[in-house]
Amino acid sequence: MFNMEIEVKSQNDDELVLIIRDAEIPFVNAIRRSAMMSVPKIAIEDVNIIRNDSSMFNEVLAHRLGLTPLVSSLKHVEGMALADECDCNDFCPKCGVAFSLNAVGPKEVYSKDLISSDSKIKPVYDTIPLVKLKEGEELKIEAVAKLGLGKDHAKWMPTTVCAYKQYPEITFNENVEIDYDCADACPRGILKGDRRSKKIKILDIEDCSMCKSCVRASVNNYINVGYQENNFIFKIETDGSMTPKEVLLKACDELGEKSDKFIKFSEGGNK
């Protein structure tokens, strides 16, 4: 087994960057996939359009409503059932939250005009423009938000960017003459040629995208860019519906549960 070390590089409301040491690709990738596909999140699923005089098609409007991120932090959606696992026919308070939207033109309709039946579950942003209404046009909509998984639709993905890269490693060939040109070629400004000490300094190696522009610019192979096989920089960014920390914890739980199921199955316990 490996002995994994995790260090938090930076963390705020919607972005978390981790440095994972001594892990393996399949494992880190499993967490990534789990975070994108298996963390339940709430999003508008069914839209009942009673009246839509605007120039926007019903389908387009429904799609826009679906993509509007709703607050889904774990403590708010706890106890809710996934839509297809609930035992009700259509929807019930256990698996859905009702929204209504009524507006009369002239008006630009924003996400803050969505009125939720549950005060805790509401749009993350108030400023998302949904549709425009001209004089005399009317909009009357009922919608139901349901819990779902990212593997079914992108609107249920809590993450926007969820990705890892292997830890970059920049080495210099001391046997050939120093080549300052390679430092100027870096689009991220990571390399800095210092003519006095005859060295190229690396400012922030974690920002290196491993694009190898520097390697290509160097004629005598002075610089080489590689990566460390078992160290990773893992970044989770969310759309604001839940915090990246919650996403990560839930993703690990889900992965653990799946593994348990698999172990039980392969031992013949669950036929």
Binding site: T127, I128, T160
Partner: protein, 56 residues
């Protein structure tokens, strides 16, 4: 109308659209606004920069 999310990565860019336009009108540089609002990737940046509002 501006798409709700960035077409490539899914960041809800539309939430910042009005603010972006307002600040642009006030004479700020597009680059500074985007940097300030935290748009680091070029996929999200192009969503705001290149959007043409045809529905008035």
């Amino acid at each position: 109308m501006i798409p709700i999310r960035c077409v490539s990565c899914g960041k809800p860019v539309s939430a910042y659209f009005d603010e972006y336009n307002q600040r642009l009108e006030d004479g700020e540089k597009s680059k500074d606004i985007l940097e300030d609002m935290g748009f680091k990737r070029y996929c999200c940046r192009r969503m705001l920069i290149s959007h043409v509002e045809t529905w008035k």
